[in-house]
Amino acid sequence: MKAPLSWLKDYVDIDVTAEELQKKLFGCGFEVEELIQTGKDISGVVVGEVVECEPVEGTHLSVCKVDCGSKGTFQICCGADNVKKGIKAPCALAGATVYATAKDHVTVEGVMTIKKGKLRGIESEGMLCSGAELGVNGDMFPGGDYCGLLLLPSDSVNGEDVKPILGLDDYIFDIGVTANRPDCQSIYGIAREVSAVLGKKIKPLDLSYGEVKGGCEKIKITDLAPELCPRYIGHCVKDVKVSDSPAWLKRKLALCGLRSINNIVDITNFILLELGQPMHAFDLRTLDGREVIIRRAKNGEKITTLDSNEFELNSENLVICDSKKPVALAGVMGGLNSEIENDTKEVLFESAKFARDNVRKTARALGQHSDSSALFEKGVNEYTTETAIRRALNLICALKCGTVTDMHIDITTEYSNLNEKELKADVNKINALLGITVPADKMRAILESLNFGVRQDGNILDITVPRYREDIDGYPDIAEEIIRMYGYEHIKGTFLPSASITNGGFNDEQKAENKLKDMLVGKGLYEISTYSFYSQKDLDMLRFPEDAPERKAVKILNPISEDLSIMRTTLAPSMVNVIVRNLRRGNTEGKLFELAKIYLADKLPLSTFPEERQMLCFGMWGAYGFFDLKGITEAVARSLNTGFEYEPAEKPFLHPGITAKITCEGEEIGYIGQLAPTVAEELAVDRPVIIAELDYEKLRKHAKPFRYSPIPKYAEVQRDLALVCARDITCGQITKEIYSACKYVTNVKLFDVYIGIQVGKDKKSMAFNVTFTPKDEPIEDKIDGYVKKILNNLKYKLDVTLR
């Protein structure tokens, strides 16, 4: 929200500097995001009167004597076509700074410092300036867009600084207005805050106008969509004289970045800025049947807006129509078919309140945004709707550009709320919320400075809320009004003196998670965090077939880009992407983990909350192989006091010979494997990449509480068994059979594998260290029997023999 200081001064006697005002506004909740100083690049430019002017033969130049009053008289060479004796123009003396313009004399290319010099051999002691060179356009100052000298009023005093004359000594506050204060999306709204914070009276708006009885043919207005248009006011002005706006009006619009169109349109734009109420002016000639109908658009109905864009509408869009056609997209933009022309004679002014979410939806759906739609989206109050129409009529009179008729139509629907809001607030309750004691008198003074009506009855404040303050709704809002004006520096920290004692900290699940991370970090892994969304392309990268469950991903309906368009169903693609990125950046090895959620839909499209499931994903590359990562998954099992089993398995993106399914107590809980060479090649990965992914939530269910088990009374016995078996028998199979053959076996450890002629073709030898732990009696003399039993079982089940 841009508010020029000069404009604010129209309503409040501001006697502090712009910087001080900025601070005060900040303190009461209006952060000035930027304090823009007009003319900040311009200096040393004074009023100069051309007292002599001689053309230089053979050139377009003239040699001038310029009277700069107390600064002296200077010889200046000037090429402008409007230089002549007797004019007054801005004169930049040596050392002055002005804008350097391109050859077109308009485009600003930077700031330049004026020096004395010679033009075609003729001494020149300064420069006479155009509007562009001072950053002034035609709306800011008459003649400002002329491509020659900017002519100053003849009563300007020679030698005086031109900045006050041209309005280059102004400040513009660019204010961040919070969403609860749409009333401050206006200059007058900000002025109200300024008046309160400075303790000054605000000047009331001039809303007076004279109206002529009769002489206006009847106009009919029908509101068929009161839920989208709670209030609509129309007023007819005749004998309209469309022309240029006066300089003061043009200038105000220009300071806020609006271009002047003509007096009628400028009045509506002025009110948009001053009051935050968007208005519209229809040329009554173009309204068929002298009728206005506010209704939802028909599906497929079309409108061309003022900026010549055509839109196809549906019943979610509100349109203003005459008896035959839409003439405006309500709250967004007027139609091209009803705009004000130079010969417009009769105008219908519209001031209305449109539902904010409907304007937002329409503006978004059509991609058509305007100053008007921005304001309606934030919310316009009906009090201002009423004020605005009167202000428009006042300006018609002030500009003498039309006759105000008595044709005034005010549609107030059941969705409209014109009642003044009254509420009671208890001084003690306000202070209890704040935790400090603000005296009742002070509260009252603050509220009154903000235009609240206050009657005090002991500790109870009977408050009438200003009609433009739709945000005020209960005593906490009043407390906020008070503290933001009283000052937050009065709030001193206390430490819950009245609160109950509570017991805080992590719950068991969170503790388990932290313990797991501690363990992994202790083993040298780095934790990563990646986005919860990616794209189907990431699943393509890992060659998931079309019918893979991973493809059933929840879609984001409005993604930022296709790359971030589905919720992930596996963490593996994110991990692979991180590893590939690291390798491309020359990070040749690493060990990573991520604990994050995947999102699993019951059915698609999504109709109910999907499951959010924590997964634990690992990635290692470079110096590490399958068994390094398996060491980590084993450590995870140990940390949960459980054990994992591994069997050969296949995954679309993993090496078919170096991949295992991981199970825990018979339940599948994940996989581990090396990235398939085909995928690796495609990703230009030239080192082994090992990936594992565990279902953390399933895992957690297998966690066993830690219990101490008594140390065996008798010594453990160890035996080494060198076995010979077929090549495809796995270590896991043999280990399982050793355990199952003897209940005293507590540990089986592979310590050697041999493949070679000594054990025969198609065979291999594996050597195991087996630990027997006795229970209630020594077992030393029974070990031979156990070993025999183990060997028999191995022979029978797997055709394994002793070497």
Binding site: L433, Y488, T502, V521, G522, L525, G590, P610
Partner: protein, 342 residues
């Protein structure tokens, strides 16, 4: 050979045996040869029974003297040899202690985890429990129950990712507040960390980031209590001398609402690049829980009041560690990650 000669002979044998002994190992062999159970001195002793009884005492004396002499001689020699050998061993085994260590590389927590845990431990000490709500929420929990009805302009403050008509990626951890208040009656003190999502992607915004939400509801909770708690938080996270400043703001679910700044811990409030010359750094939003929000959760707002605060974990991490680009947090570059040792 009579005994005396034999003794002499043994003495000579010992002398010559030890003359060129070089190691404690060969000395040990000599020991065994003369002093062992079947050694030469022992066999002489065994011969005592062949000696007439009257000579036995004097002979015994002689033999004992021989044994003692031998033991002493060999022991002395042994300790000398052992010393030499130890010196040699030390010299041989000497290492270059300046050679770099064999590395057991450290792992590292993600900066978000570090900050999250630090925040949790601060607030846990004040009696806050941790609650983690779902990331996928419906409109009710993310907006409506937080006093942000459908047509509310505050919805524009946060661009929301939708997954279905009524399902969305939560834009704020405040959604979790409602779930807690629906199920738990005051006193409530919870901390709710988690991932949130907004449709925003540039140098200072990421479509996914993490927040930490705090909520206190009890009898007689005031704005001053909020300030006191945040003072404590700021000191513990940013340093003992850091102060907080409240200034008015707006959130639909709190009233009054405040923006909370901390005094710049880099320059001490004088103004620097970090605080853009203002001396203050914005760190979080907070306020007194809106009565409507309490009511909606079945908590009587005339009996209970509360405050809530919410902060961006990445923002705190970036401020605390001096990280200048949010993207770094999600890239997983090991050169970045390995710096975050706790």
């Amino acid at each position: 050979m009579d005994v005396n000669e034999k003794i002499k002979h043994i003495e000579q044998q010992i002398e010559s045996a030890v003359a060129d002994v070089k190691s404690s190992k060969s000395l040990q062999e000599i020991k065994m040869r003369f002093l062992g159970k079947t050694g030469e001195i022992s066999s002489l002793m065994k011969n005592m029974r062949d000696v007439p009884p009257e000579q036995r005492p004097s002979l015994g004396k002689l033999l004992n003297a021989l044994r003692q002499w031998t033991e002493e001689k060999l022991d002395n020699l042994e300790s000398g040899l052992k010393e030499i050998e130890l010196k040699r061993k030390y010299a041989e085994e000497k290492i270059d202690v300046t050679v770099p260590a064999r590395d057991f590389p450290d792992g590292a927590y993600h900066p978000n985890t570090l900050i999250r845990n630090e925040l949790v431990s601060i607030f846990a000490g004040m009696g806050f429990e941790i609650f983690e709500g779902p990331e996928i929420e419906n409109d009710y929990y993310n907006f409506t129950a937080l006093n942000t009805p459908k047509d509310h302009p505050a919805r524009d403050m946060q661009d929301t990712f939708y997954l279905a008509e009524d399902l969305l990626l939560r834009t704020q951890t405040s959604a979790g507040q409602i779930r807690v208040m629906e199920n738990k009656k005051p006193p409530i003190k919870i901390l709710s960390p988690g991932k949130v999502y907004r449709s925003d992607d540039d140098a200072t915004h990421s479509p996914m980031f993490s927040q930490m939400e705090g909520l206190v509801v009890d009898r007689g909770i005031t704005l001053c209590d909020l300030k006191g708690m945040l003072d404590e938080f700021a000191k513990k996270i940013f340093g003992e001398n850091v102060k907080t400043r409240l200034r008015p703001s707006y959130f639909p679910f709190t009233e009054p609402s405040v923006e909370v700044d901390v005094s710049c811990f880099e320059c001490g409030g004088k103004g620097c690049r970090l605080c853009k010359g203002t001396g203050w750094i914005e760190v979080l939003g907070a306020g007194m829980v809106n009565r409507r929000v309490l009511e909606g959760c079945g908590i009587n707002p005339d009996e209970y009041t509360g405050f809530a605060f919410g902060m961006g974990i990445e923002r705190i991490a970036m401020l605390k560690y001096g990280i200048n680009n949010m993207k770094l947090l999600f890239e997983g570059d090991t050169r970045f990650l390995k710096q975050f040792k706790d």
